[in-house]
Amino acid sequence: MDTIKQISIFVENQPGKLAELTRLLADADIDLRTLSLADTRDFGILRVIVNKPDETEKLLKANEWTYKTADVIGVKLPDRPGGVAEVLEAINEAGVNVEYMYAFVNRIPGRADTVFRVDDIETTLKALTAKGIEILSPEEAYNG
């Protein structure tokens, strides 16, 4: 299945925590393909897609960071008005909920690749493919 492995890391709201985490990844030569930070007063969740997911997991585990992995869908959105709306409508018609979404750091002109975390991956993939919407392969997501 064309899903991408996302790693979500629990980051306590303390000065320097986020820097410490990203430095850890940087020193292991891990490339952050894209990231999103959700935060509250006490803590944040840093969601990342990296070039080397398995290695990243090992590194986090060894350094006692709390994390969880999830399968997410990458969609190759056309970079024009209505691009996001069309995808969301297709997902909605299929009766699937979007938990959250965030955009890729775009590298290809004319495309706004976006990450979707949904509660039913299989149905979403079918619905999007049926509408001719292109899905980002793990290979493309991790290595560009």
Binding site: Q6, E64, T66
Partner: protein
């Protein structure tokens, strides 16, 4: 294999025990009246003469001693023997004010070690055992007390003291320790470290643990028993009275037998000082009837608990005390409600969280705030913000049901709350700073 350390005392009939206590009490009151001017003044003020105390039934006539008296009389005011007859000093941690120092003659040390040997024997310890003492050694009574008891019971004694947890585990494995003595929070930490080192209870030979010197819950007991593969026994004591071994648990694990041939317990109403009947909840009071150097009469412990003479399946007839529900020193009054850290700990474990937590109390805009940081384990984490917040809310709700007041719960990373090798720091009350 002996089941009891001092069978005659531990299984004495209640009638004979009362007779023995009475004889010892009468003698002790004379000893104190003659040698401790501080207590003589208290008795004189109350109009009580040593002759008025003819049996344990007269105990209630004697004046109380409290921690405040110990501070006032510091350091020598309650000493009943010349210093030349004393061989040892121990002291409380003194975190809440002036330290309390207690003195021991050689005879006092011997009796105290017997009390600890009773606890070790009750936990199944004998000359075939290797007893690892991971209580702190030094002024604190925990290390030296169990150390002496372990010697007496004939165990091979490992005087590790607390700290250096990986070395503790290495010795435990290399020397085949069968009994571990330390604080319950340190036992939990040793269990955690064992698992972090990739080991299981099958890799060690421990069969029993004797844990005390701080409050712990039944849930924490089960979790330590599981992580170390042992049976965990509670032990109770206080420096003022001697140290660990004032009371100890048997295999029934339903309360601790008080060594009442040495320490007479009473339960009083903490407000009025009136003695309450057996089975009532109240403040625990001890009278030392065999100690020579530092014999406290009617010392108020601040521990709230219940006594019971219900027959015990272990055969001991020594009266039992329930696990103290908390020290009145530990009790916090938050928004007018009495809160014990042990209540919060119970909820955490029921809800599947680790017993590693920190309670912070403060006062903002004239309202008390209660913040509880709790470590979550990696399985409890979710990449969805809402799940984590729902978990915090659910836990806050469960704590509110228990306490009646609303806390703010903060889930934090595993191992982010400082571990302690001695008594755990569970509560920070910042309100005191503003007074």
């Amino acid at each position: 294999m002996a089941k009891y350390w001092q069978e005659d005392m531990e299984t004495m009939s209640p009638e004979d025990m009362k007779k023995l206590q009475s004889e010892r009490l009468v003698k002790q009151v004379h000893h104190v009246y003659e040698n401790v001017p501080y207590y003589r003044d208290l008795m004189d003020k109350k109009g009580v003469k040593p002759e008025d105390i003819r049996s344990v039934d007269d105990l209630h006539k004697l004046p109380f001693l409290s921690k405040a008296d110990l501070r006032e009389a510091y350091p020598f005011g309650l000493l009943a023997k010349p210093l030349s007859d004393c061989v040892r000093i121990h002291s409380t941690s003194g975190t809440t004010g002036k330290r309390v120092v207690a003195f021991y003659t050689q005879h006092d040390v011997d009796l105290w070690e017997d009390c600890c040997a009773r606890a070790i024997t009750a936990a199944g310890g004998n000359e075939d055992d290797v007893c690892q003492i991971a209580y702190g050694y030094g002024l604190f009574t925990g290390g030296m007390g169990l150390h002496g008891g372990s010697h007496k019971a004939g165990c091979l004694t490992l005087p590790m003291s607390s700290g250096n947890t990986e070395r503790q585990i290495q010795f435990m494995r290399d020397l085949g320790a069968t009994i571990l003595c330390c604080t319950p929070s340190y036992a939990a930490y040793i269990g955690e470290t064992l698992h972090d080192m990739g080991l299981t209870p099958d890799d060690i030979k421990l069969k029993a643990g004797i844990f005390g010197a701080e409050p712990w819950t039944e849930e924490m007991r089960r979790s330590i028993e599981k992580s170390l593969g042992i049976k965990a026994y509670d032990i109770f004591g206080l420096t003022e009275i001697s140290g660990p071994g004032v009371a100890f648990e048997c295999e029934e694990q339903s309360g601790m037998h008080i060594n009442e041939d040495h320490f007479i317990p009473e339960i009083i109403d903490p407000e009025t000082g009136e003695v309450l009947p057996e089975g009532s909840v109240g403040e625990l009071v001890f009278t030392s009837i065999t100690k020579e150097a530092f014999p406290l009469l009617r010392y108020r412990t601040r521990d709230l608990c219940v006594l019971s003479r219900k027959k015990c399946s272990c055969g001991r007839t020594l009266i039992k005390m329930a696990k103290p529900m908390g020290r009145s020193d530990d009790m916090m009054i938050i928004r007018g409600v009495n809160v014990f850290p042990s209540q919060i700990e119970t909820v955490l474990i029921e809800q599947g969280y680790s017993p590693n937590y920190l309670i912070e109390v403060d006062r903002k805009n004239n309202t008390d705030t209660l913040d509880i940081s709790v470590e979550m384990n990696p399985d409890q984490f979710s990449d969805k913000m809402k799940d984590v917040q729902d978990k915090e809310k659910a836990l806050a709700g469960a704590i509110k049901t228990m306490l009646g007041i609303n806390p703010k719960v903060h889930l934090v990373s595993p191992k982010s709350i400082a571990r302690s090798e001695g008594k755990a720091v569970r509560v920070i009350d910042r309100r005191k700073l503003h007074d």
